[in-house]
Amino acid sequence: DDMRIAVVVKALGIGFFEAAAKGAEEAAAELGDVEIIYTGPTDTTAEGQIEVINSLIAQNVDAIAVSANDTDALVPTLKKAMQRGIKVISWDSGVAEEGRMMHLNPSSNPLIGNMIIKLAADHLPEGGEVAVLSATTTSTNQNIWIEEMNKVMGNYPGIEVVATVYGDDLADKSYREATGLMQSYPDLDAIIAPTSVGIVAAAQAVVDAGKVGQVNVTGLGLPSEMAGAVESGASQSFAIWNPIDLGYSATMIAYHLAKGDATAEPGATISMGRMGEVTLDDTTSGAMADPFVYDSSNIDDFKDIF
C-alpha cells in the first residue's frame, strides 16, 4: 500500500495553499510510493480543521502535515492522532508544541519581520510613515511577524509605524481599511500587508485613490495576484517564500518521519529532498529558507506559477 500523507491547509481555494499542494504532489511523484490527501475546511476556522482532522484520523492516514488556523485549538485532536500512531507535523502556521512532532517555518520569523519593514524602508531613504494592514486579529503568523518587525524598528531610523489595522483576509474589508488609512494619514508613504489578501486589496485601494507613486504597497503576496499591482506601480516590490517549495518540504519531512528514518527531536536534522536539510531547534521547529523578493524585474517569470 502507498503511504498516505494528508496535507491540511487553513482553507481550500487560497492560491498560496493550492501552490503548496503542487509542491506536495511533486514530492509524492519523486518519492513514488506516496498518496497525497490535500484537504482543509472551506473557511479559516479551527472547528472546521478539527472536523477534517477527525475524518483523517478515522481513515488512519500515515501522516498529517497541517497549517493551523489556531495554535492551541487543534492540539487535543492532533494529540489524539498521534496516540493512534499518526505522525503529525505543522508547517507555515504552527501548532503548539505538544500538538505536533515538529514545525516547519517557511522562513524564520525574525527574517520575515525584518524583510517586510526593509521592503518598505528601501524605498524611503528619507524616512516616512508606514502602516500595517494585517489579516485577522487572531492569525498566528501575522502577529508574530509584526512583533518581530517591531523589534528591529531601531535599525530603520525615520520610519514610523503609524497604525496597524485588520482586514480579516476579506477583500472588501481590507480595501476599506486601506482606504481608511490613506484618509487618516494623508502623508502615508507605505502600506505593509503581510497577507496575500490584504496586499492585493491595498494595492487596488491605492490605485483607486489615485495615490500610485505616493503610497507604496508592500508585504507578503503571491506573484500571480500581485502582477497587476507591480505593473501599475502601486507596489514596488514584495516578498514571499515559495509555497511550492514549502509544500514539497513538508511532505518530505512527513514522509521521513512516517518511514521511521528520521526522528523529530531538538537538534535533529531531517532531509527535505531538493531543498536540503532542516535542523530542529529546542522547540523542534526549523526554518525552510529566506523569503524571496519579487519586483518588476522577475515577476513575469513567476506570475503563472503561483
Binding site: 472546521g48 475524518s55 478515522a58 487535543p76 486579529t137 485588520y166
Partner: protein, 331 residues
Amino acid sequence: MSMADHRPRSIPDQLTTPLARALKSWESLLLVVAIGIFILNSFASPYFLNAWSLSDATFNFTEKAMIAFAMALLIVAGEIDLSVASIIALASTAMGVALQLGAGTPVLVLVGLGTGLLCGAFNGVLVTRFGLPSIVVTIGTMSLFRGISYIILGDGAFRGYPADFAWFGQGYVFWVISVEFVIFALLAVVYGVVLHKTNFGRAVYAVGNNATAALFSGIRVGRVKMILFLLTGLMSGLAAICLTSRLGSTRPSIGTGMELEVVTMVVLGGVNILGGSGSIPGVVIAAFVMGLVTFGLGLLNVPGIVMSIFIGLLLIGVIALPRLWAKLRRA
C-alpha cells in the same frame, strides 16, 4: 327548552391511532433518510464502521444539538435566536477571563452557564418587554456579543485551561461514549419530556400557534418566551463549555457560523420555522443525519463546502420532495 330537544352528539376522541400517525410522520421519513445515509456511508468508506470513527463522528453534532434542543422549543414558540454562536464566543471569553483571575473548573462552568443565561436574558427582555421581533434583535446581539469578545480579547487568546476542565469536551464516560454524547443524550430525553409531556410544553405550542389566544387563555406568554430565551442562552453556555474544553483555548472567532447550522438542524428535524409545530425526536434524528452526512463525506475527503451543498439540498429536498410528490399525485 330547545337544548333538551335533542340528544348531544358524542364526538370520537381521535380518528386515527397514534401508531398510524407516527408512521406517517416526518420523524419516520427522517429516520429512513438517516438509515439510508448510514448504509450508504458504510458502503462508501471502509473506515466508517469503526467504533472510534463513529464516536469521533458524534463530535460533529453534539454541541450544535445541545443548542438545537432549546432552539427547537424557541422556534416552536414562534421566535428564533440567531445569536447563539456569539453567545458561545462571549461565554467562552468570560470563562477565559475567569481563568485569568484564577478560577478552577467548577467556577469556570458556572461562569460559562451564567454568561449564557445573561445573554439569553438580554435577548429575552428585548423581545418580550419591548416587543421587538426576535430575528432582528438577535441579528443585532449576534454582532454585539461577539463584538464584546473582540473588545476583551482583541488578537489574543486565552489558553491554559485546567486539566480537569478538558473532561467536558475530550473525556469519555465509558469506552467510546464521550461525555459530550452523554450530555446530548440526557438533554434529548429532558427536552423531549418537557416539550411533549408537560404543561409548559403545551404552552409552548399554544404560544407558537396563536400568541394572542394563548394570552387570553391565561398563558403567561411573555414568561414562556423569556424562559425559552434563557434556556437557549443556557444551552449556548453549555455548548461554550464543551467547545472551549474541546479546543482548549478561547478566541473571539470561536463557533463562527454555528447559528445557521443549529437552525438547519432544527428545521431539518421537522420544526416549522414559522412556529407552532415540531418535535424533539425529529431534532435528534436530524442531528444524526447531519453528523452522518458530514462525517461520511469527510471520510471521502470531500471539501466542507461541497458537503454544505448536500446539507442545503437535504434541507430543501426533505421538505420539498413530499410536497412535490403530493402535488404530482393530485395532478
